[in-house]
Symmetry: C3
Subunit: 667 residues, 3 copies
Amino acid sequence: MRIPYGGDYNPEQWPEEVWKQDHRLFDAARIDTVTVGVFTWARTQPSADEYDFTTLDRIVERVAAEGRRICLATGTGALPPWLAKAHPEVNRTDFEGRRHRYGQRHNACPSSPVFRQLSTEMARQVARRYAGNPAIIAWHVGNEYGGACYCDLCAAAFRDWLGARYSTLERLNAAWNTTFWSHTFTGWDEIEPPSALTEHWRGPDHTAFQGITLDYLRFMSDAMLANFRDEKAAIREADPTTPVTTNFMGMYRPIDYHRWAAHLDFASWDNYPPDDTSQARMAFTHDLMRGLKDGQPFWLMEQTPSYTASRDVNPLKRPGLMRLWSWQAVAHGADAVLFFQLRASRGACEKYHGAVVGHAGRSDTRVFREVAELGAELEKLGGVTLGARTPAKVAVLFDWDSWWALEISDGPSRLVRYQQVVLAYHRALWDAGADIDVVPVDADLSRYDVVFAPALHMVKGDLAERLEEVAGRGGSVVTTFLSGRVDEDDNAFLTDVPGPLGPLMGIRVDEWDARGPEFVNPVRLDNGPVVDARLLFELVIPQGADVLGTYEADFYTGTPAVTRNAFGQGYGWYVAAGLDEVGVGWVVRQVLDRHNLGGPYPDVPDLETALRVTRDGTRLLFVLNHRSDPVEVIARAGGVDLLTGTHVHIGQPTRLDARGVMVLRQP
Amino acid sequence: MRIPYGGDYNPEQWPEEVWKQDHRLFDAARIDTVTVGVFTWARTQPSADEYDFTTLDRIVERVAAEGRRICLATGTGALPPWLAKAHPEVNRTDFEGRRHRYGQRHNACPSSPVFRQLSTEMARQVARRYAGNPAIIAWHVGNEYGGACYCDLCAAAFRDWLGARYSTLERLNAAWNTTFWSHTFTGWDEIEPPSALTEHWRGPDHTAFQGITLDYLRFMSDAMLANFRDEKAAIREADPTTPVTTNFMGMYRPIDYHRWAAHLDFASWDNYPPDDTSQARMAFTHDLMRGLKDGQPFWLMEQTPSYTASRDVNPLKRPGLMRLWSWQAVAHGADAVLFFQLRASRGACEKYHGAVVGHAGRSDTRVFREVAELGAELEKLGGVTLGARTPAKVAVLFDWDSWWALEISDGPSRLVRYQQVVLAYHRALWDAGADIDVVPVDADLSRYDVVFAPALHMVKGDLAERLEEVAGRGGSVVTTFLSGRVDEDDNAFLTDVPGPLGPLMGIRVDEWDARGPEFVNPVRLDNGPVVDARLLFELVIPQGADVLGTYEADFYTGTPAVTRNAFGQGYGWYVAAGLDEVGVGWVVRQVLDRHNLGGPYPDVPDLETALRVTRDGTRLLFVLNHRSDPVEVIARAGGVDLLTGTHVHIGQPTRLDARGVMVLRQP
Amino acid sequence: MRIPYGGDYNPEQWPEEVWKQDHRLFDAARIDTVTVGVFTWARTQPSADEYDFTTLDRIVERVAAEGRRICLATGTGALPPWLAKAHPEVNRTDFEGRRHRYGQRHNACPSSPVFRQLSTEMARQVARRYAGNPAIIAWHVGNEYGGACYCDLCAAAFRDWLGARYSTLERLNAAWNTTFWSHTFTGWDEIEPPSALTEHWRGPDHTAFQGITLDYLRFMSDAMLANFRDEKAAIREADPTTPVTTNFMGMYRPIDYHRWAAHLDFASWDNYPPDDTSQARMAFTHDLMRGLKDGQPFWLMEQTPSYTASRDVNPLKRPGLMRLWSWQAVAHGADAVLFFQLRASRGACEKYHGAVVGHAGRSDTRVFREVAELGAELEKLGGVTLGARTPAKVAVLFDWDSWWALEISDGPSRLVRYQQVVLAYHRALWDAGADIDVVPVDADLSRYDVVFAPALHMVKGDLAERLEEVAGRGGSVVTTFLSGRVDEDDNAFLTDVPGPLGPLMGIRVDEWDARGPEFVNPVRLDNGPVVDARLLFELVIPQGADVLGTYEADFYTGTPAVTRNAFGQGYGWYVAAGLDEVGVGWVVRQVLDRHNLGGPYPDVPDLETALRVTRDGTRLLFVLNHRSDPVEVIARAGGVDLLTGTHVHIGQPTRLDARGVMVLRQP
């Protein structure tokens, strides 16, 4: 066994003489795994009454014959044209209320009975035909689920979903606070999807009724999950065991992956970071994906070997970056390294998307060489990392409901973005070298010493109690401005802010000030630096907490900006303002230091470490140099580098090349 | 009698146990007036055949029993869901041609017969039920009328409106200059509302036919006025005397408040200034609102005690600001000081809008304390200001038609904005301390010594003659670039620019140059500074006027930028370019000095004075320090400060705290 | 004979007493040609069954009686309201899928049978009525064809167009690469216009299927051409000889004028440059328009005498600029100089568009004076320039298909714009004073020594061979990054980049890097300067070419950025990066110097020269000073200035005023 290596492969776009060239090139690159069939619906079902697997049969046969492993897609990620024409209602209606006609992909209304029936049948047909083929190691349902539909079928399904959630209109009216603005619903059929034609203005984040919009986001995520579950169930009819997944997109706002995770056998995701300096962000996203299924390894289902095509500007990955980032994925729990795509399409919108094999079919390109070198390296490593776990003592809570609620809120500030707040705290944790888990708010927190809950706008269920339990037994809990504001229905808690988090934090927030990014209020940290704060400033009145940082300007000069409250054996930290990187770093290191949870190189910028522990207890420490120059340090962690056989001894100088990687088997 | 103090109150959103707490808090804050029922339609008419006043009865009874005064709303500011469902045509069709479904508020098509019938009936029911209740001191119809509808019902109503205006298609074709671009209408039913689907591109300001768009703006303003008048008439059936109003929004472009003013018994408006430094702008808007009904006092119907929620960034009002701005309203003619809102909603888009009472129901917040202090102060003042008038000798013309015409014009410049030009001149007047009236173009000008008519693009009726009369008897008239261009139909005058204003101004404009904001042409003022001019530069050929300022750059160097024409006993001033603040200030002070119309502290920045004269002739001078630091001056106006009892003696030093206020009863 | 001088004249907007004034003013300005009837449809056909030429008869009679020449329009540039009402399908459906209602102009669906029938009939009626009138020197069909329609009629017509192009769905599926994303079409009726409702997102340039969008652009251009051809055919029934044209808009992306050119008897265009410093751009566009019909002179159909009205900011033309630009048009091949407009409209969106005669009807304005002076000058010149040709040895290829393909592409960079690349090379040619032709890719290249093909994304037919022929016989061919990428269907060549241009260029492109505009990679030129490169950087591996410029930064430091390949007797140049103005200038001058094709004043900025050779072989050298100050040079070209009679002697100092012009008849 080794780490599956390869990626999306679409030989149906090419004559068969090209397939032969493909496989020789795959051999040269040590590619052993391919994902096939992602967009084959039009070919496998050319009309309502006809299935035709001629091409897919030949592809699967050939791939298997070549000894490669297959991730087989159900092929329902894009509608075939005949279906869109015959049943216009399978096309989505957009946020503007416009029924679309045939085009693009990910284009089906999730509530359409015809779509649901035909896509499920397609999955059934594919599974029935190929189940049992030993080359198949995973099923790939649909593709990058996302977007939304606002048609009348979805409206009806939304009403059903609401009926299941609220049972009565009275409870629904209460949850949505409909007495406001004369919105009391007296019949279920009065309820409309919240869109540009109903509750929204200026786009999807501006809604008159946050509760309605929030429920529609939940509903739409569930509606697409139902599509996935339909197809998975159809696969299970023929194949009870081979794992089933779909490719997620990391921090993708429209879909609450925590609501989906239980239904996937393993998580997988497509990593297209926004730029060359996304190392911390990618680390966070890997941890989030790993956290979907309680720490179980995931697949890196897609990454580009070189460039994307969909951006306004598509830079190439500098030499070494593809390798470094592939290893980073493994370091954070990836048990597969796959590319989109193996061969570049000739035409349409991805023809300039990078590929292992370009239009000229050469193997003497820089990109191909790097892919082949990594293939050889992965082959050499073998299966040692497969199934290994990350032993984190620090948790970061990530919550789609809080994300949605914060960003669809009118007031206090549209400039405060959930991801930015969470990523600021994560960046500081990453800089300090802490191993972390990114977990949902209903995760078991009993294993963690430290829990960060940045911008935890919504507090659901017994979360406050579970956070108190963490502090009570000696742990540290950190939260920030705009936390503890609303309940599960997005209604404000009728208590002091931060609501149920108040006792743990030992403060109350009397009021808050939002300002543009040009406005800075300096914050003086206790025995620490004076740092900048921006965007949001809560005015805090301690209710027992110690003040560790104070505002230095405006009428609230001298009042608390950072507090720490002794709670049980531990602490609750509250950061009331948008601190800058130095400020967040100070808070994070205060917390980590107490628990001694930093990494070996907390003071070497962009030298990342990440630990995985294999099933047999072996500790593998990944050391990743994200800098474009070499780095030399005195080793604080030793072992044998599995990539080179080199021994690293604690206390001795050790060197990593620019974008260099070590996988240390620790003694 | 005292100044009504309180605001919007929505107890229907809360269980009755909360009401009790509300009233104790209102007592503590000296709140004696509440606006109730603004968004109660869904509750008071739960279905087509059913009215249910149970809740409103209890609210009104309780408020009255507590001794508070009531501004009672008809409750038609938002449709109930059942109505939108049963009669889809009551929902608006937007500028993009999209028929909306249920959502938001202010969402009714003003031309819909069903809406008109049911909203009128609702007003009738409310009035019939509560008329005669002595607690009710005013009726509040609808809420913040605005927006627009473009449906087929509105198209039909527009054609009727046009028929009434033009009688024949021939006259309509002439007014709209339809020979241009083959637009000659040969049937009334060929006329469409000007929208994104017809005459417009790039939004509501870009139209192929200014005349059509202008008439639609007038029509839509009138259509909503008809809704108001319907409801008022229904109220009058049961209550012939209690005054009726609706809450305006200050400088709100879609509604021509001058066309509405005669139909309100008193004006009221909602003051949500864009930022913390809007003191002059608010002063102007108060004066505009006071000018709606010929100087009669108005109500400040809404202001936030702390923050708004609808902005991208919602800063809090600094300590003292809410008090200062409340007194500024009174200084400019407000006879009521009301907040939106008394208690914060739990959910939906206003849950973070500031309120007198927050979600925790506390009275020991900063905001509540300031509200209570102002309540005590107003109570102490009593009724002395009620009904007092502003004795202004300076008028500023404000004209919705010119606003619309200027901003929907293709050429010369989209960067010249009507409000900015008007506010620039007002700011200079405000800095100089002049008491001003902001009046419509058909106002009686015989009482004024000075009339400013900035950017008076459209000149209607006998206005030019009336302005000539002002100058003729020794007054001063000031106008600017882009004035005197078009007639009531937005057709250019077939004369030299500035059209009918030419004789008074003694110039003709040969051509004009528009430039981006980065381009500056300096203007040398006669015995004055060299100032910057931007955006628009008219090339003027004097026809008798004296040149008081000349361009300093470009091929028109040395030609006139500011002229003054002797006319009768007075003068006509023409400012041909977009002068900067210093330049406008120079012009304004030249004019005011001639008439000796400046205030007592023209050289103290942001120290505002405003005079009101009570019915018995008492002169009340409001002195308002808009600075965030104290100011000390040698008094140039004396009297007894009604807020403190302190005597201010002319010639003696006097001091105002930061954001301080005095109300001097002058000797 | 003299150069027709005048412009658009709309007396139907005015009472006849104004007409008299018009003609006296035209006499004063030496205006001898007017375009009439452009927007008269509503007047000439007031209802379906009625034609009424009363007004047009009087206009034509009067103009002819006054001795002026007429360019007579068919009047179909805007629908009459009754037609839009009676046949809603004649209104366009926009890119957003919205069926429009009546408004604006250029508003007809080109595929509507009713529109096609009625517009053709209108042209027939006009031609039948006025054919033979000796005053008529040209027919003007429609007006500024453009925009697009996406209705079902267009969808059907698109399918017909595709059927004619591809014959079978199999070939269509291959051309569009529909195997990608499950798009295989199995019925013609499944094909939808590519719009916001189908293949597009983020607007017209973002498409999932470039092939579909490209074909729709071609189809829509052809559909409007069919409208033009219908009307022309109707004219030809009555008038077999008088030339027929329509007014083009220069570099107008939606219409492929090369597909149209053969169907016009002469080209004409409307010159509204974006700003005051567009001299080079205008020169290019004139050359493009002249190149439409193989160098035949064109008409300058419209230009403003002063300002436009449609821009956000509409500056006036500085004194002398209108004259200078008029002469520039003549210098580049214009055989007519016409204005829009002769008299300003009173109302609607062009009332502030500049005109020869303004609203006051004066002749003592600056603008009128300049128009009259130019009229006198043109009259004095007489007909010497009519029919003269430009003897260019340098060609620049301009290709709508490449423009479209480049800008609708996903990847590598949305920031690379076709016009900017082409204009950068043209600017350098213009600075060097070369006479150039701008020609389509299927032009005869045998007459040129140098061919520039910047950003030639698509290579069609035998173009590569014809370019090789140019180099083979000793010429120079220059191309750039992003050339040679796709075939006629926008499918990538399955070879090394630059595809069929590879052999001529002697390189292959291994990969490419796109970056934001803030990123600069310096390029060191061989014995030349170090210049900046931006936006796109191709990594080149020479296959025989010499390296003339290398990157100075990033991991590809030292690799080629500019190459020159010896090919036959000549060279192929490849510029792999977005060089700055200095860099492009260096390349261009290297090339021109080899062939000795620069102008007489290559080192005097903004002193333009342009040569025309009359039918009798007389060489007329236009010398145009685009600077706002005078210029004095030692003459390198001599002759008699036809405007003043002055003799210019080679080697002697000669002087041109600011914005001055000479027309030298060379000895």
